[in-house]
């Protein structure tokens, strides 16, 4: 018996000895001399944490620079203040004659499918819809209420900002952009000024998307910032940040192509540009209608026909391969009212019904915008080189997601809703998408400055939330 006890004792001791935790050295974070104590981010909606069609609290908390700042904390990063809005339902707005019209953020909702007569078809689909419908006064109150955190704000991202508006005095006035007005230090200041006076020790600048995108979002190419203007002002913005006092280092980002964004690609995948099948008799009938209304230039034929849309110059034309429908296209009107062909609700004579130009980005506009983005990005890449800054080439990264990328077992793509990367507005990223983008910026910083900032665990951030 004594021997048995001895044996057991020996086994137990060995087990205790050998089963002690198997440690691996933790990630060895290092700033390699960089100073992250005052990190200031300048940019637009992508930087502000705008998502789901509105600025909301949870979106700001998951903004790209806020995620980065969390990682910077392991290498001496300081507090990262954001101009937090006091609502989780968010506030978005559209310019309307005489002011603005506000709404909340969107969430995915189960939508009972109906046919053109309003009868449920027995199927359901997921569609983005406003999370709630408070009155305008409430939303305006939330929009203009002072942020819950006092300034100065490390996150100077302003939804809607372009490179040019960084320099606009009055952009934060009552006549300016409400998203800046709500936290500008004065009505006459500029975004850049409010950033520069903070004397950042490290900065982030991701600007220029709206110089091209604002045009694209409106289905036109008329609002593009001229390339030479961009080439003049981009280095000025970078220079202002670099000469702000603490000789900061920084990271800047290039502009993704519009065709990488679900807002421009989703509908065209479902609805072909030539999605009007006609018999010879129907084609003849349409030709009569169009001729009677003075548009004999439109010729309908037997077989598949292109939709008709109204161009920027007011003329109408048939769509061509490569023209894109925007996510905002009212597909019900296409399906039930004859949009793009003739208005079937008009009697006795059907009326020609071109798709309004704001829902179509045609080939020529697209080529113009793509060309401009190439020119902007050349300026950005060149500035990174001359100013010796880290460059996160988002323009190169995003196309990789068109066919899908996987991180930690999570498939992500630029597909709308199913891609798990973009939010319900099809333009801005969801939190998990922001985490992936933050990792691209962190990688760029690590590569450039030879430091080791830990990347973020993307599985900690939410994708799209399904009902």
């Amino acid at each position: 018996m004594y021997i048995m006890k001895k044996i057991l004792f020996i086994i137990l001791s060995l087990a205790l000895f050998a089963s002690c935790e198997r440690k691996i050295d933790k990630f060895n974070a290092s700033a390699n001399g960089l100073d992250f104590s005052n990190f200031v981010a300048v940019g637009n909606s992508m930087t502000a944490g705008y998502a789901d069609g509105a600025l909301c609290l949870s979106g700001q908390q998951n903004s790209i620079p806020n995620i980065m700042a969390t990682q910077f904390k392991t290498v001496g990063g300081g507090e990262f203040r954001q101009p937090l809005i006091g609502t989780n339902d968010g506030v978005g707005f559209a310019q309307v004659p005489g002011g603005i019209y506000c709404y909340t953020k969107m969430v995915l909702k189960v939508n009972v499918d109906k046919d053109c007569y309003g009868t449920p078809t027995g199927t359901a689909s997921l569609k983005p819809g406003f999370i709630s419908n408070p009155d305008q006064a409430t939303l305006l109150g939330q929009l203009f209420a002072p942020p819950s955190v006092t300034g100065p704000y490390n996150n100077m991202g302003v939804p809607g900002a372009t490179l040019m508006t960084l320099f606009y005095p009055g952009y934060g006035s009552s006549m300016g952009n409400p998203y800046f007005t709500r936290f500008a230090t004065s009505p006459t200041t500029t975004i850049l000024h409010d950033a520069v006076v903070q004397q950042p020790t490290f900065f982030y600048l991701w600007i220029g998307n709206n110089d091209a995108l604002a045009s694209a979002l409106a289905g036109t190419d008329m609002l593009l910032t001229p390339a030479d203007t961009f080439a003049k002002y981009y280095p000025l913005a970078v220079g202002a940040l670099m000469s702000s006092g603490k000789s900061p280092k920084g990271v800047i980002g290039t502009i993704p192509d519009v065709t990488s964004i679900p807002f421009f690609t989703t509908i065209s995948k479902q609805l072909p540009w030539n999605g009007v099948p006609l018999t010879a008799a129907q084609a003849a009938q349409l030709n009569t209608v169009y001729a009677l209304q003075g548009h004999s230039e439109i010729v309908w034929k037997e077989g598949l026909n292109p939709f008709v849309y109204r161009k920027e110059n007011g003329t109408i034309a048939q769509m061509e391969a490569g023209d894109l429908f925007l996510l905002t296209l009212p597909t019900d009107s296409i399906k039930c009212r004859g949009m793009g062909i003739v208005d079937t609700t008009k009697h006795p004579l059907p009326y020609i019904y071109p798709i309004p130009g704001k829902y179509v980005l045609d080939k020529a506009e697209l080529a113009n915008i793509k060309g401009r983005i190439i020119e902007y990005n050349a300026v950005i890449r060149n500035t990174a080189k001359t100013a010796n800054l880290a460059l996160s080439d988002m323009n190169q990264y995003l196309p990789q997601f068109e066919s899908g990328m996987v991180f930690d077992g999570v498939q992500m793509s630029t597909s709308f809703v199913t891609g798990g990367m973009f939010s319900t507005d099809g333009v801005h990223l969801c939190p998990r998408g922001n985490a992936v983008a933050a990792n691209f910026f962190i990688k760029a910083i690590n590569d450039k400055y030879n430091c080791s900032i830990p990347q973020v665990n993307i599985t900690n951030y939410k994708g799209l939330v399904f009902p």
Binding site: I11, A15, S19, K26, F27, G409, Q411, F466, P467
Partner: protein, 413 residues
């Protein structure tokens, strides 16, 4: 009372497993474990039924029984690549056991049965915050166990050669949890799969004693295809997606690889007090190229998935020695090298398989004639390996360490 305390302590310390190469478990005899897991050329006790049926008829006793259990105490850590993130294996006990019984109706013939657990894997990951870990979309927890029942016949033609074969009936159970990256208000979706199956195989071997003191054995254990037909698959997903994830039956396929073992040993010294031996075990891991889930009710989001594993065949090298101190006491020691069958770009948290060097020791005490109490201890060095499971882009460094005490009884008369 002291003994109960000690046993309880064992249970508290208890940890997880999946060790060595892949999901093969080679703890099939406490005496063998003590000698670096060698056994193909040995015919000391009833464990020969499993290690090499060709040797069973060389066991001298009319009846022989052998049984035992190993307690796997494991530790494991995962460090994510480029991230400030670690996760650890949850502490769970795994206790592979064996039981062998052999009877010799004549001096040349032996019949017997071997029951043991040659394959298995059990683990659960948790991160340091105790929340859902980073690799949860690959695996949260997994329990896979195969038991084999092997009725065996062995015949010894003469003192030179014996042959034997066993029919293997294998039962398997699988139980796993994984998260699905589709989120609702309550977080991630989940999938739970649970099922069991059985199948057949065989084990055949030859043993020869070419010269005084020498023994050579060769043994082949066939592959067994474990196809779990109609395991229960339950999903928890956001309401709006529930029609795409109907609770379901799923067929899961996992092969138990074949083994070809070659062993040689030599007894020498006064009364053959000494024995040294070696084994070469070729494991046909190449058969495991993917883990297949085939759902019976298919939807746009649920169908047939084959998760690539692309294992490669591997050779395990083992050496061991035994010394009989006296009638009452025998000591053993050994070691082995078990290379991982997993390629670096397929290293997966489901089976974090590392190249292992195992060191073993053990002893037997003979309180009365015919009875022995066998004790073994296997220590696997704390291996470390970095890799990426490329199909899921899941990268990091794994480190595991195991200490496996075992205890058994052998009785023969």
């Amino acid at each position: 009372m002291r003994r109960i305390t000690v046993l309880l302590l064992f249970l508290c310390l208890a940890a997880t497993t999946s060790f060595g190469g892949g999901y093969q478990v080679s703890l099939h005899g406490i005496r063998n474990i003590g000698m670096g897991l060698i056994g193909t050329s040995l015919s000391y006790d009833a464990s020969t039924l499993f290690n090499n049926p060709g040797g069973a008829a060389f066991v001298n006793d009319k009846w022989s029984f052998s049984g035992g259990v190993s307690l796997i105490f494991a530790r494991g850590t995962f460090q994510a690549k480029d991230e400030n993130y670690q996760a650890t294996l949850k502490h769970e006990l795994n206790t592979p056991f064996y039981f062998y019984a052999a009877y010799k109706p004549t001096t040349h013939l032996s019949v017997g049965i071997a029951v043991n657990a040659p394959y298995g894997n059990r683990l659960a990951w948790q991160d340091d915050a105790g929340t859902d870990w980073q690799g949860r979309y690959l695996i949260k927890d997994l329990s896979f166990k195969a038991l084999t029942y092997q009725p065996t016949v062995s015949y010894r033609f003469n003192d030179f050669i014996g042959i034997g074969a066993g029919f293997v009936f294998a039962t398997g159970t699988v139980d796993l949890n994984r998260s699905i990256p589709l989120q609702g208000a309550n977080g991630d979706g989940t999938m739970h799969v649970k099922g069991s199956t059985s199948n057949f195989g065989y084990n055949a071997g030859v043993m020869i004693h070419p010269d005084k003191g020498w023994s050579i054995g060769i043994d082949y254990r066939s592959k067994i295809e474990m196809k779990v037909k109609g395991a229960d698959a339950t999903f928890e997903v956001p309401q709006s997606l529930s029609t795409s994830f109907p609770n379901n039956k799923v067929d899961v396929m996992l092969p138990l690889p074949a083994n070809l073992d070659l062993g040689a040993s030599y007894e020498f010294g006064k009364n053959k007090q000494w024995m040294i031996g070696m084994n070469l075990c070729y494991v046909f891991w190449g058969t495991y190229d993917s883990l297949v889930f085939d759902f019976q009710t298919k939807t746009a989001l649920v169908g047939r998935t084959a998760t690539p594993s692309l294992y490669e065949d591997r050779l395990i090298e083992r050496v061991g020695a035994q010394y009989r101190v006296n009638k009452m006491f025998t000591v053993r020691a050994g070691g082995y090298y078990d290379p991982s069958p997993v390629k670096t770009n397929y290293l997966n948290p489901q089976t974090p398989s590392l190249d292992e060097i195992g060191l073993t020791c053990g002893f037997s005490v003979y309180p009365t004639k015919g009875l022995s109490i066998d004790v073994s201890f296997l220590y696997l060095m704390g291996a470390k390996r970095s890799g990426t499971y490329s199909p899921d882009n899941f990268a990091g460094t794994y480190r595991t360490g195991f200490s496996i005490p075992g205890i058994g009884l052998s009785y023969s008369f």
